[in-house]
Symmetry: C2
């Protein structure tokens, strides 16, 4: 039996890769998707998500538009220099007449938490606004959630939006702080891990060559994303931020270094705003879990992710074509 | 001709190792020492420093007592669990009747900056309070200083006093902020570099066996310091924080990775207080200097420091014995 999964995203190019991967993973069933403003607005993210689901023939999956603005400040307009103006690197998806469900993403998450009480798992790859709103509306939410995996933050690695802050957390530090202090078991997948996993030209070529509509669309977006990363990696390629968190949530990728430690989000207006302050002192001799720490910080996933991702996405594409 | 050096310290066990090393280094002449509260109070630090200088027969070197309290808060009482109650791991130095000079450490630094205008180099291994006071008293100070080397901060490594802050900076973030923004050329030697260099039992044994009063005293202190580091390194040994900064200031140790980048000190009251926020984004392909950046952050010194330190300290001891 696949485990029920709620996916919270700001689709987004690497969100799209993650979604294609999740749709290809038999371990989980996507029972609902909420969108949040981040890479693009929550409305655009929903449109993109529905367009991708339509390409996969999966418009049965409920999509809810989540928060447009963040807890303490308005949406800043997204990251068009990274993800393109439409969030998909300029790739135009066929129009659909599928609409988001009524109610916002926090509503959907709360509803699903009752439908699948005790079993529902949560994967977030955008700012934590929807989760924070859901926690505010119903503080008992964590009791009904089995696991939360969150792509976000930077522990010892540099940030990507400030010297010490990663974009998902920096976009809504107040929400991230609520989320990480809520006491539910969180696996945090920060830049320390995600920057070490990349898609290369060969992987993109394989997606495009598959002929599968979803895989081809994702491959097309990566063309744009690869350009952004030239300054980072010195070659056309892309970090696999959201896909790594997805693979960890699925149980397909295994964290090789992931201590459970105190994590605090910097919500000041100082130079550390949006930093995930992880207490990694005293871990020179190997990962050590802190008693009572509810956040596990993934610092390393040793096995390369790209081949696994590609294999699954192409396997679904192959079976879809039959 | 040795280069004139002002040394600002909070003596302290690793400060003592650094002092013994500086007294053994022909490249520099210690023309003045200022003390600051940190490991111990500034008054105790001066007493310790004078006691060590007496052991080396160098009471000609002027010592000034610097700031007791920090810019924005009072002295917190030091780190007796690390450095012992007297700062020297309980080692008692012979009493001397040498007194500190009149005036405080900032006065001494300013006076020396005129005496050796354009040539004076500065090495700090404690909180930056004295430097900040000197900069406030005379903002033209940097014009007369050739180089500043500062042990402090943590760039990508964990902190040692909070998850992200190193003790020297955390003890007086406001002072560190003034110092690092003053525009003079600073070589910052953070935990990223210093934690990778240690003294081991063999080094301590050699100091004790030398029979030289200063070396024996330093070896005695390290017995205490080694105990503290068991939880860090898993064995009795000690980080060489201050000695590494000293060796870099002397020119004896060479930084193998040390980009010049923007560095901002977190002076908020948030979880990042005292952090040296170093912008190390975009350095995956190798160290890159930022135009206009005045702070060089030492991330790696490849060659082991301990043998060099020991060799110099023992060489001075040997020549003192003749």
């Amino acid at each position: 039996m696949p485990r029920p999964l709620y996916f919270d995203c700001d689709t987004g190019i690497d969100d799209s890769v993650a979604l294609a991967y999740l749709l290809s993973s038999p371990e989980v069933e996507l029972v609902g998707i909420g969108t949040v403003s981040g890479n693009v607005s929550s409305a655009t993210a929903a449109e993109n998500t529905i367009g991708l689901l339509a390409l996969a023939g999966r418009t049965d999956i409920r999509v809810a538009v989540g928060a447009h603005d963040h807890l303490a400040h308005p949406f800043h307009g997204g990251a068009p220099h990274v993800h393109g103006d439409n969030g998909l690197g300029g790739v135009e998806l066929p129009p659909t007449d599928v609409r988001p469900v009524a109610g916002d993403a926090a509503d959907l998450l709360l509803r699903l938490s009752h439908e699948f009480a005790g079993e529902l798992e949560v994967l977030t790859v955008g700012p934590l606004t929807n989760l924070a709103i859901a926690l505010q509306r119903d503080p008992s939410l964590p009791e009904r959630i089995a696991a939360v995996t969150t792509m976000g933050g930077a522990a010892l690695a540099p940030g990507n939006i400030t010297p010490v802050a990663e974009a998902n957390i920096h976009n809504d530090p107040e929400a991230a702080a609520l989320h990480l202090a809520a006491g539910w078991p969180v696996v945090l997948v920060p830049l320390d891990a995600t920057m070490e996993h990349t898609f290369e030209e060969e992987h993109r070529d394989a997606l495009v060559a598959s002929g599968d509509p979803l895989a081809v669309a994702v491959g097309g977006m990566l063309d744009h994303y690869f350009d952004f990363y030239v300054d980072v990696y010195g070659r056309r390629s892309s970090a696999l931020h959201d896909p790594l968190a997805a693979a960890i949530a699925v149980g397909d990728a295994v964290a090789t270094v992931a201590p459970a430690v105190p994590v605090v989000v910097d919500t000041t207006d100082g130079p550390g705003r949006g930093q995930t302050v992880c207490d990694l002192r005293g871990q020179r001799l190997g990962p050590v879990d802190w008693e009572g720490a509810t956040v596990r910080v993934v610092l390393e996933v040793a096995e390369p992710l790209a081949p696994r991702l590609l294999e699954r996405i192409l396997a679904r594409a192959g079976s879809a074509a039959r």
